[in-house]
Symmetry: C2
Subunit: 338 residues, 2 copies
Amino acid sequence: MATKTTLKAIAEYLNLSISTVSKALADSKEISEPTKIVVKNTARQLKYRPNAMARGLKNNHTMTLGVVIPNILHTFFAKVLMGMEEEAHKNGYNLVTCISNESLAKEKQSLNMLCDVSVDAIIISLASETQQTEEIEHLKNILHYDIPLVMFDRVSSLVDCDSVVINDYKGAFDATSYLMEIGCKNIAFLSCLSKTSVGKKRLTGYEDAIKAKGSSTTKIINTSLNNLDADLNTFISNNAIDAILTTDESSAIYTMNTLRTNGLEVPHDVSVIGFTDGNLARNYFPSVTTVNQQAEIMGSKAIKIAIENINRTVTKAASQEIIETELVIRNSTRRINF
Amino acid sequence: MATKTTLKAIAEYLNLSISTVSKALADSKEISEPTKIVVKNTARQLKYRPNAMARGLKNNHTMTLGVVIPNILHTFFAKVLMGMEEEAHKNGYNLVTCISNESLAKEKQSLNMLCDVSVDAIIISLASETQQTEEIEHLKNILHYDIPLVMFDRVSSLVDCDSVVINDYKGAFDATSYLMEIGCKNIAFLSCLSKTSVGKKRLTGYEDAIKAKGSSTTKIINTSLNNLDADLNTFISNNAIDAILTTDESSAIYTMNTLRTNGLEVPHDVSVIGFTDGNLARNYFPSVTTVNQQAEIMGSKAIKIAIENINRTVTKAASQEIIETELVIRNSTRRINF
DNA sequence: CTGAAAGCGCTAACAG
DNA sequence: CTGTTAGCGCTTTCAG
């Protein structure tokens, strides 16, 4: 078995001091060109790679970023993660990723461990439990230790840090407006995210769009993926609708399924719109009209902001970046002829 | 802003030596019960959390595991990751996750960085490019440095390390046998994974099942997600089939879509089976019969094996763990009456 | 231009 | 039972 080569090893090999080697590798102007060259060459030969831990211990930065996401099975978060990974690596940072699984306890635990490993910044999207309980001590804590924090998508106004979100309000507003525009008169709003910041904003967007036209009263179904089928069934038997706006990809699919089992054809009898523009939406039958959440962009923005904060010397007020959504129209909606 | 409390801080606070504090916190028997108590208490008060980097530098283990997966958008890998996360945390380990994006270069780079941060072990599923080119120097390299390596799902027999896979052969064999059993006579095999170890094993399983019954010749469609529609279209126009076995979830969905646009109804005209048991399969219409890959189990097994290897003092020969699959029957297959 | 030395936070001999 | 010391691999004054 080979042992990892250290600065010391290459110093001994070259009969130089370890600090000379260190400086040579860092391209310090204190070192002569010739020795730089020979040092760099043997470093390459010996496959030297600096020990990130030692360096981190010394420099107080580890070049790793901590991210915690609520759920990896959601296409949205998976895509965000891809955007983050790319942006981080582009800047020489590594990511250590935790999944909170929508649990407050798990979120706290993740934050703790990220502090333990001395990440340079933390990027987080809140667990739904956290957003429900509004318990945010653990978040303030990490701010307190002066670790840059940026929240994305599921954010809390109670925590004073940078954040990046999509324009959930406008996304829902536009989607609802579109449904009205194509002739829908009875538009319901179905949410599995009612306890979540984004769920609330989308609801308001929906409500305001309805009110703006003054054409109809709102119909709101708050449920969860597990109860969706039952809740929607009873809703349908009591309400005549011609469109449903749902708050995420899975909900849209589930909704379309229970509509179908109720003999309601999409989009002939009712139009459906979802959020998140993933494979599921794109390849379902019929393909589903969605408001695109720009996941990768959001991921890379969040990382950029985190890195800016790391490198910032003067403090600045927290700000929020808002990304506009885009309605991608597919076959789960249709224009109704009058 | 608060500063993180160190051993030194609590030592000074208590007028003790820093090593006494260290030992007290570690419950060393060298330390008296009373001082242990007082040390632990003030540690809690001061919110002491050991610096993982310093500890790692000293102890040569970081309690972090590196994992690299080819693609996070695949339900399968996302689920594996969940299983890994849980098992790792249960054992006090953290995960740093890289996405190779099916690229050999990215895979190499990820491995390098994982070495840099001194992960205690690496768990990897190979990029398809790696499996195609069979370039494995980078993997041997990490073995060479005596870092435990375990491969899962997409493995290479050229690398001498532990691995965990599902029984791809039997999964495909059983799925094919099932199709024959319900009366299908012309079963095609459609693969977007032809260059991949698992794709090859599934193909063999399919072929052997067909041969075992001696009933029909094999029909193989090697394609990619991007060309699937076109390739399947031309295939259909030249071949009469009543069933298709596909190698992953997305392929199954795409296949069902192009069948539908060709006027072929699933499962009435042709039965379809996929791999991976995710939301897409479960909630598509019709819901799709799949061979379940036991993703979470695979993830937790891989982590367990990695940890065992970390703690092993005597070397042992590499071994392979094989997890059996399970055919979950849904509505994309139907029994044909004679 | 090169080297010696200190120190990041922690652990572990080794003394006392 | 408690403290002193050395050292993990690296960076960075400060001397030579």
